[in-house]
Assembly symmetry: C2
Homo-oligomer: 310 residues x 2
């Protein structure tokens, strides 16, 4: 285990900032987490925020910084573009974008895009998790990456052949917070993965996805007619949306799926996938993104030696 | 055509107030519309709002007032309860709730409820439209009543055998206004029923409802990758949600459906249903609700003679 810092790895999303000081063998020497996501940072400046964290860590100026996530979007720090599928996930570091005009070497990993007239899609940040997950589960053919915008990825070896995004997490948030259902699902309590209302919702959403927007309203009606309580209603809502996602992703009961997640979402999706008979392989999302950032950096430095030495 | 005022008919919803002064043969002698819906009125008092309109119209004190809509909900003026399906829509006036302690005779029409553990449902206001629509199209077996919460109703003669609510309108509102799609669908322009993006959305939502939450995100991706414009994106979003509603309602290409609607929604749903091969019979929602209020009043006064003479 090496304790020599070699890299600063950063996952910089819309609403969160996570930074790890790492050695070349992947050992985590320090970790910072904050809510300084892209939308909050835009005004203060990305470099200032990054350097304030690095200053606290006394990170030497020669340490490179590798970043993934929305910091690479058009509204972010520097646009890092997209690689089109099919794409070899092991090569994403090669075309990382170098942030210009900084004292430190800072690179941002590109996203992936499905360029299809009928169903275009994009990801940014998940490609780095996916790279880490691929090292953890090299033969994996399908990955589920739940979140605000859940991603379902198909792979053939290290090639991402395609992916689909489902707005599950964001829909849960606006439906429970901004529609008539707010009166029925109020409160912020976490959904329990073992709640029968959650698992029934998963089954209903999975087997009758066309009825989803009707089943949503029946949550309200169930409160009016049967006095169903907020906790149960939230669980059902969560289950319905996750089940509909499974139907859209076309899961089969006999397949193995790599679930790249952590915390509460990991527990919910694991229970939901198991309810549908899927063989789940859990891959910790935090571990995966760190591994992906490190691998991307190594790929970048191997293939961009001339850039490094400038 | 009679010009003697006999009845005040009111459709009092969550966000709108509509009042008609009518003769017994259904002639409209005066009309008031305002935004004094239930949520705004709750503080000022329902009676004060109603009387201020009636005062403007110099409506004689002996004229009865018949009300449908959310004014009869628990959060409304006086709770008017629900009649359980199967329910004979021609009898809803019989069990209207009399508003106590008012100078005028004022009644509120009950809603309808589907009491089902698995898929409970409720309507309030639409039952009165449905009564009017039934008189317009007595043999109709299915009615589509689009709106914030679209209702699909199955009838056998005058019996409502069941109905299903879909949250289509409210989902369009929160998805276009409160999610990442707000950047792609911005603006308030109406969707054009003949826009190819609308009709393609309808087909995609109808034929692949399980993919809906994925198709939503592809609107965002289409903007990022192909610079698709807001008007087209709004049209596609609207079409996808309406198409998914059709899939949930299980429309068949060869059936006749009574479309109870007016204005922009009527044009959108008519075009969408026609795109799916459905034979549409248009029923004006305003005409239907007035007819329903009048019929309810007549039923009430016939069966509650003793109450009237008090």
């Amino acid at each position: 285990v090496s304790t020599t810092p070699a890299l600063v790895a950063v996952d910089w999303g819309t609403s969160s900032f996570r930074l790890w000081l790492m050695s070349l063998d992947g050992t985590v020497l320090a970790e910072h987490r904050s809510h300084e996501g892209m939308s909050e940072v835009a005004g203060r400046g990305f470099e200032a925020v990054l350097e304030s964290h690095l200053g606290t860590l006394s990170a030497p100026g020669h340490l490179p910084v590798v970043i993934c996530g929305m910091a690479g979007s058009r509204q972010g720090w520097v646009e890092a573009g997209y690689i089109d599928t099919p794409a070899d996930v092991t090569t994403i570091g090669e075309t990382a974008t170098i942030v210009p005009g900084t004292a430190r070497q800072i690179i941002i990993i590109p996203g992936l895009a499905v360029r299809s007239d009928a169903e275009p899609d994009v990801m940014r940040g998940e490609e780095t998790q996916l790279l880490g997950a691929h090292f953890d589960m090299p033969g994996g053919e399908r990955y589920c990456m739940p979140g605000t915008h859940s991603k379902w990825v198909s792979m053939d070896g290290s090639i991402v052949t395609g992916f689909e995004t489902f707005m599950t997490g964001e829909l849960f948030s606006v439906i429970s917070g901004k529609t008539i259902l707010k009166h029925s699902t109020g409160g912020d309590g976490n959904v329990d993965a073992n709640d029968p209302a959650f698992l029934t919702g998963v089954r209903d959403g999975w087997t009758q996805p066309a009825k989803t927007t009707h089943h949503l309203f029946s949550i309200r009606a169930g409160q009016l007619l049967y006095d169903h309580q907020a906790g149960e209603n939230r669980a059902r809502l969560s289950g319905l949306l996750i089940g509909a996602e499974f139907a859209g992703a076309g899961i089969r009961g006999d397949e193995q799926i790599g679930l790249v997640a952590s915390g509460a979402l990991q527990r919910l999706y694991h229970a939901a996938l198991a309810e549908c008979g899927v063989q789940v392989r859990d891959i910790d999302a935090d571990v995966a993104v760190r591994r992906g950032l490190l691998e991307s950096w190594q790929r970048f430095s191997t293939t961009n030696g001339d850039v490094q030495s400038r």
